[in-house]
């Protein structure tokens, strides 16, 4: 059972992510936005549901497909969109673009353009929490592709051995760029790899908010009780290409349309909310319209934001202590 306010938050957040992503795609197609932009449309249930159970002080690390995690962990849409456009008002002052958005004040230790690299970093944040005797947990989002990276396996072994309060959330969208997961990966269900590290592994429908919610809740309980990490595999599907310019030769249009029609995370939740009469159609439509307006406003803000000043390009390579500043 998800409390009603939290259901509303998840539904709102999924819509914010969806409209943000569609807006980014549109801006890319209009040549207003460039770079390697990896969109999360179709996978929103995972970020929104996981983060609905986290506090600001809990940590996440994210991936190259990171806008959804970022928004769900409290990022402002306007500053995120400004970063996608390389603007001075972006989260990283325009230095980093789509793949490196972070907001340490919200516990978001960053998206990461290197596949799997955020996984040991989250385990390290969990170690910090454990060393301080705090109950903060760390969640690391990673893809099916990352599940084959060495650093991920090293981190899982260490986290299990040290009983770190970290949750490994694998978003299995079926493809590593163009390669189907079955061609690259030794197991059908990635969650089975938990067995190798002596931690619980769950596979859930990643487009079902309610299924994700229950296992994440249990994983947080386990982490905070000092019992160690959990591996959660969320099976999902990305509606758009690997990146905004992907010709998608590795799948059919029919396959994509079928997922959108029959197993879209937002539609799934909407149907459940209406069936349970938790919200009216009108209420849900209003949430959706507000999210769309917010994404539009974010784009306006980004477009109208100033470019970064190149005279500051060398700032922040190092932290310089106050007394050393010239």
């Amino acid at each position: 059972m998800i409390p009603k306010e939290r259901e509303e938050w998840i539904y709102k957040t999924m819509n914010q992510i969806r409209y943000f992503e569609l807006k980014a795609q549109q801006l890319f197609e209009e040549n207003k936005l460039r770079g390697s932009v990896h969109l999360y449309a179709g996978e929103e249930a995972i970020a929104a549901t996981v983060c609905s159970l986290l506090r600001d002080e809990d940590y996440i690390t994210s991936t190259h497909r990171g806008h959804g995690h970022c928004i769900a962990k409290g990022a402002q849409l306007d500053r995120a969109m400004a970063e996608l456009m390389g603007k001075a008002t972006g989260y990283c002052k325009g230095r980093s673009g789509s793949m490196h958005i972070a907001d340490f004040t919200k516990g978001n230790l960053g998206a990461n353009a290197i596949v799997g690299a955020g996984v040991p970093i989250a385990a390290g944040a969990a170690l910090a929490s454990k060393l301080r005797g705090e109950d903060r947990v760390a969640v690391t989002f990673f893809g099916d592709g990352a599940s084959n990276e060495g650093a991920v396996h090293e981190a899982m072994n260490m986290a299990s051995n040290w009983k770190l309060p970290v949750i490994f959330v694998c978003e299995n969208n079926g493809f590593g760029i163009s390669v189907p997961t079955w061609q690259s990966t030794s197991v059908k269900d990635i969650s089975i790899r938990g067995t190798a590290y002596n931690i619980p592994g769950y596979t859930v429908d990643g487009n079902d908010v309610y299924a994700i919610y229950e296992v994440v809740k249990e994983a947080i309980r386990r982490a905070q009780a000092g019992e160690g990490p959990t591996l959660i595999e969320c099976k999902t599907y990305r509606h758009l290409g690997h990146w905004t310019g992907d010709p998608q030769i590795y799948r059919t249009r029919e396959e994509v349309e079928s997922w959108k029609k029959n197993n879209d995370p937002i539609n799934n939740m909407r149907a459940k909310l209406l069936a349970a009469k938790t919200f009216t159609k009108k209420q849900l439509d209003a949430i959706e319209a507000a999210a769309q307006a917010e994404a539009d406003a974010a784009a306006e803000f980004a477009i109208n934001s100033p470019e970064p000043d190149p005279t500051h390009v060398m700032d922040d390579v190092f932290y310089v202590a106050e007394e050393e500043r010239v």
């Binding site: 940590y59 690390t61 972006g90 989260y91 990283c92 002052k93 230095r95 980093s96 490196h100 972070a102 340490f104 230790l109 960053g110 990461n112 290197i114 690299a117 996984v119 040991p120 970093i121 989250a122 385990a123 390290g124 944040a125 969990a126 170690l127 910090a128 929490s129 454990k130 060393l131 301080r132 760390a138 060495g150 650093a151 090293e154 981190a155 072994n157 260490m158 051995n161 040290w162 700032d315 922040d316 390579v317 190092f318 932290y319 202590a321």
Partner: protein, 326 residues
């Protein structure tokens, strides 16, 4: 002032910093009960316990990655790598993550992480356990590169490193560990980064060296004195930041430069330093600078072969004579 080995100077500094700041902790292979293969963490577990003196699995990428994460989350990790050759197993976490975190995330986070360990010749450890790899880390913006040549500098530079809010690559030399030096007892003794040490004053030739090669340069200088060549020996102590001004001032006086290091000569840091001297003091030079470094050959096992790859005291003397046209 106490007479102690280079290894004990490092151990005592770590202990003092752990006493001073409970965010400081150590992790690495065999660092706990064993006290590190070279004894640099010997006895720390007795005082600080196994939470803060953590034996890690043999997982260098995971180890450094957890260090990055713990530092992002506010701890001050010291990651010991048994051999700095093993940095190669953790390159993504060092070069793509630690070095870039602050910059890419908009100058918000600080990353107080020390990655330390030994390198170099002297034990005939062959190709993958005898290298000098410091140059590689100079090339990537965002890392400070530290190379202490004696016990006092080891303690003073390590203390500065632990208290610094940037990622630090701290290179010790295995052949120095058992050598005794006078080390200040002051638990706040710090050697600033970016301040070269003029080890020996001279007027005819400037010899720049770090780590083990400082003692070789001093030895060479004593021999050169006998044939009427007065050599100035400079130990930069830190390669990033590099105190090029002290070297240039010296070269303006002597008109001649020899750089001697154990790292490979090809694209070694001596090339960078010599180039900066040429840019800064071209008209003062009476001879083309000479670089000495290991031959472009993997480090061999047999000690006679190892010596054949690495520059000798005689090579330094010959180079100094050559730039003095003697």
């Amino acid at each position: 002032m106490s007479r102690k080995t280079y290894a004990n100077a490092i151990r005592d500094c770590i202990a003092e910093e752990m006493r001073r700041d409970n965010r400081v902790f150590v992790m690495g292979e065999d660092v706990a009960e064993q006290g590190g293969i070279f004894g640099c963490t010997k006895g720390l577990i007795d005082e600080f316990g196994k939470e803060r003196v953590r034996n890690s699995p043999i997982s260098e990428a995971g180890l450094v990655g957890l260090g990055v994460g713990a530092a992002c989350a506010g701890q001050r990790p010291i990651v010991e790598l048994m051999y700095m050759d093993f940095t190669y197993c953790a390159m993504d976490q060092i070069l793509n993550q630690a070095a870039k975190t602050r910059y890419v995330f908009g100058g918000i986070p600080v990353l107080p992480l020390v990655i330390r360990g030994q390198q170099g010749i002297g034990r005939g450890n062959a190709a993958t356990h005898s290298q000098s790899v410091e140059t590689i880390f100079m090339h990537i913006p965002g890392l400070k590169v530290i190379c202490p040549s004696n016990g006092a500098d080891a303690a003073g530079l390590l203390r500065t490193a632990i208290r610094d809010d940037n990622p630090i690559m701290f290179f010790e030399h295995k052949a120095l560990y058992s050598v005794k030096f006078d080390v200040p007892d002051d638990p706040n003794y710090m050697v600033p980064f970016g301040k070269a040490n003029i080890v020996r004053e001279g007027t005819d030739v400037t010899i720049v060296a770090t780590l083990l090669f400082v003692s070789r340069a001093i030895e060479a200088a004593a021999e050169l004195e006998k044939i009427g060549i007065s050599a100035e020996v400079i130990d930069p102590r830190t390669l990033v930041p590099l105190d090029i001004d002290t070297v240039i001032t010296s070269v303006k006086k002597t008109g001649r430069l020899v750089v001697a290091h154990e790292a490979h000569k090809t694209a070694g840091w001596g090339a960078e330093l010599a180039s900066q001297v040429v840019e800064g003091a071209f008209k003062y030079l009476d001879a083309a600078p000479i670089r000495l470094g290991s031959k472009a050959c993997p480090l061999p096992f047999n000690l006679a072969l190892e010596s054949a790859v690495v520059p000798s005291v005689k090579d330094i003397i010959d180079a100094a004579k050559a730039v003095c046209y003697k």
